[in-house]
């Protein structure tokens, strides 16, 4: 298992899509606050602080998580089917479960790195430009560690769903396209179904698709916290196990 994780990290390090995503997101993360900064400067409005920026925009990071997971799933995992590398991996004398688990772990780590670019780069930049400021309530350290911790957890949950799609769809184009459409549409679909059937409303309320929006909430009730922590963990475990199950039965062409 150790070798499998090592080789997946080696492949991630050599993956051009991963580095391209990191580079593009870093540039955009640097450019986005600058637009605000110069806009506010020219209009004379007070500058947005690091704390305000984090609270306002961390929920937008969900789009980056979804996009990053979809693209990386296609180019990091599904691509191995078209190049034939999956044949070498699957015939290497390791169980399918171990192979999928190693892929999922490293894929989740790669996705997490991508998901943290925007909040870290932009917040640091805004803080350097206008200072961090103050949060409306609670301690900054607690808020930042909670927001970043939840980003990590929710990205892992999304990554597990993306990895499940890769073993079902195989083709990288299909994986990227389907994952993007799924992640974009799932909220609308579940809300629509929830308005007719209560079960779907409850399902949506306790799904990562809805709860991901709570990452940037300045204060979280103690009653909300267990769900906020457990839902992404359960999503990771259940999707991961489903992916393993599908991959174990998959014939590799």
């Amino acid at each position: 298992m150790y070798n499998l994780i090592r080789v997946e990290f080696f492949k991630l390090r050599k993956n051009r899509s991963f580095w391209t995503l990191l580079f593009v997101l870093s540039v955009l993360s640097l450019a986005y606050p600058l637009l605000y900064y110069f806009d506010h400067r020219s209009s004379g409005e007070p500058q947005i602080t690091g704390a305000e920026f984090l609270i306002t925009f961390i929920s937008s990071n969900a789009y980056i998580i979804k996009f990053g997971v979809a693209v990386l799933a296609g180019f990091f995992i599904s691509n191995e089917y078209s190049t034939g590398v999956m044949k070498t991996i699957a015939s290497s004398g390791n169980t399918r479960g171990q192979l999928f688990a190693a892929k999922l772990i490293v894929f989740a780590v790669g996705s997490i790195v991508i998901s943290l670019v925007f909040p870290i780069v932009s917040t640091v930049e805004v803080t350097l430009l206008s200072g961090f400021g103050h949060l409306p309530e609670g301690s900054a350290v607690l808020f930042i560690s909670r927001a970043f911790g939840l980003t990590v957890l929710y990205t892992a949950g999304y990554a597990a769903i993306g990895a499940l799609f890769t073993v079902i769809l195989i083709d990288s184009g299909k994986t990227i396209g389907f994952s993007l459409i799924f992640f974009i549409m799932i909220d609308t679909v579940l809300v629509g179904l929830g308005s007719k059937v209560d079960f779907f409303a409850t399902l949506y309320d306790y799904s990562i698709f809805k709860l991901v929006g709570n990452i940037g909430k300045p204060s979280i009730d103690s009653g909300e916290l267990p769900a906020l922590l457990l839902v992404p963990l359960l999503t990771f475990v259940i999707s991961g196990m489903l992916g393993m199950l599908v991959f174990r039965r998959k014939e590799i062409k």
């Binding site: 080696f10 051009r16 034939g84 590398v85 991996i89 290497s92 014939e251």
Partner: protein, 307 residues
């Protein structure tokens, strides 16, 4: 101790309404070079994919290094190197990086094996070149280098000479023969170039429509490859009448170009030629010949076909 590196027992594979493998009992003796022959779609790749764990049988079992239990079979695959259908490479990685990735995957200690493998397949100068810029022949060599990582006891090669130039084909053949001779590596090799297989295989398996028609050793093949007299005359129709009436045999075959292969009376060439000559036939060619692997295979599957 196991005698056979690979054995399949009543191995079957069915797709929707199509039988890809039909109760195949194949056995590959340790230390042999097994030439696996069959047309496209005969079932060669399906069998190889099942043996390497990429596909699952509908029925029957696979025994690798004497073991057929599921978990032991997965472990046994660590002792197998393979190229299945085409070399599996990371196109954006260099040759060295491709080998390095596979070295880590297989848990092989020390990086020196990467250079050694590149040298072994004649790619020592191309280690820093990206795989996507390789010719098909170079990709085949790199695929072989990857298959050889970790010193496998059993090599499974599906069309390893695809894309190689004539010198590359010879080098590949010599390399495989050397690996077999010096390291005792057992090799299963499927190839469309039967003349090439004939130069290295010690055993053969002929598969057709998912059925293993025959397994034989190179010696048995030589015995079975029929000797005949090749006759080319100006009037093949009259010649066949003369052969039937004067030589009293119907053991011949008229080819599409009008030439005749006479399989009996071959020990009496004088009698054959004088019978034809006496009938007023003009003999253009007359020579004793033997069948090769290609004609034996064609005859065995019953027709003129492309492998």
């Amino acid at each position: 101790m196991y005698e056979y590196v690979l054995k399949t027992n009543q191995l079957s594979k069915k797709f929707k309404g199509h039988t890809a493998l039909d109760k195949v009992n194949l056995s590959i003796r340790k230390g042999s070079i097994y030439g696996f022959i069959g047309q496209n779609g005969a079932g060669k790749s399906t069998l190889i994919r099942i043996v390497t764990g990429l596909a699952f049988p509908t029925d029957g079992t696979v025994e690798l290094f004497g073991t057929s239990e599921e978990q032991a079979l997965i472990q046994a695959r660590k002792r197998v190197g393979s190229i299945i259908e085409s070399p599996a490479l990371f196109p954006h990685m260099t040759a060295s990086e491709n080998l390095e990735a596979n070295r880590i995957l297989r848990g092989i200690p020390g990086k020196d094996c990467v250079h050694r493998m590149l040298q072994q397949v004649g790619l020592q100068g191309a280690g820093k070149k990206k795989a996507k810029n390789f010719s098909l022949g170079m990709k085949q060599r790199l695929g072989l280098a990857i298959a050889l990582l970790g010193d496998p006891e059993f090599l499974i090669l599906d069309e390893p000479t695809n894309g190689l130039d004539p010198m590359g084909v010879i080098e590949m053949r010599e390399l495989l023969k050397r690996l077999n001779r010096e390291l005792g590596i057992t090799i299963l090799i499927s190839s469309h170039i039967l003349s090439e297989l004939h130069l290295m295989a010690t055993h053969y398996g002929i598969i057709h429509h998912g059925k293993l028609l025959e397994q034989l050793t190179a010696e048995e093949l030589d015995e079975k490859c029929q000797q005949y007299v090749y006759i080319k005359v100006d009037n093949p129709g009259k010649a066949t009448t003369v052969i039937q009436n004067e030589l009293d045999t119907a053991d011949f075959e008229v080819m599409q170009d009008g030439s005749i292969k006479l399989f009996s009376r071959i020990e009496q060439p004088g009698k054959i030629s004088s019978a034809l000559f006496s009938a007023g036939l003009e003999i253009e060619k007359f020579m004793p010949m033997g069948e090769d692997l290609e004609s034996y295979f064609t005859k065995r599957i019953g027709g003129n076909v492309h492998v």
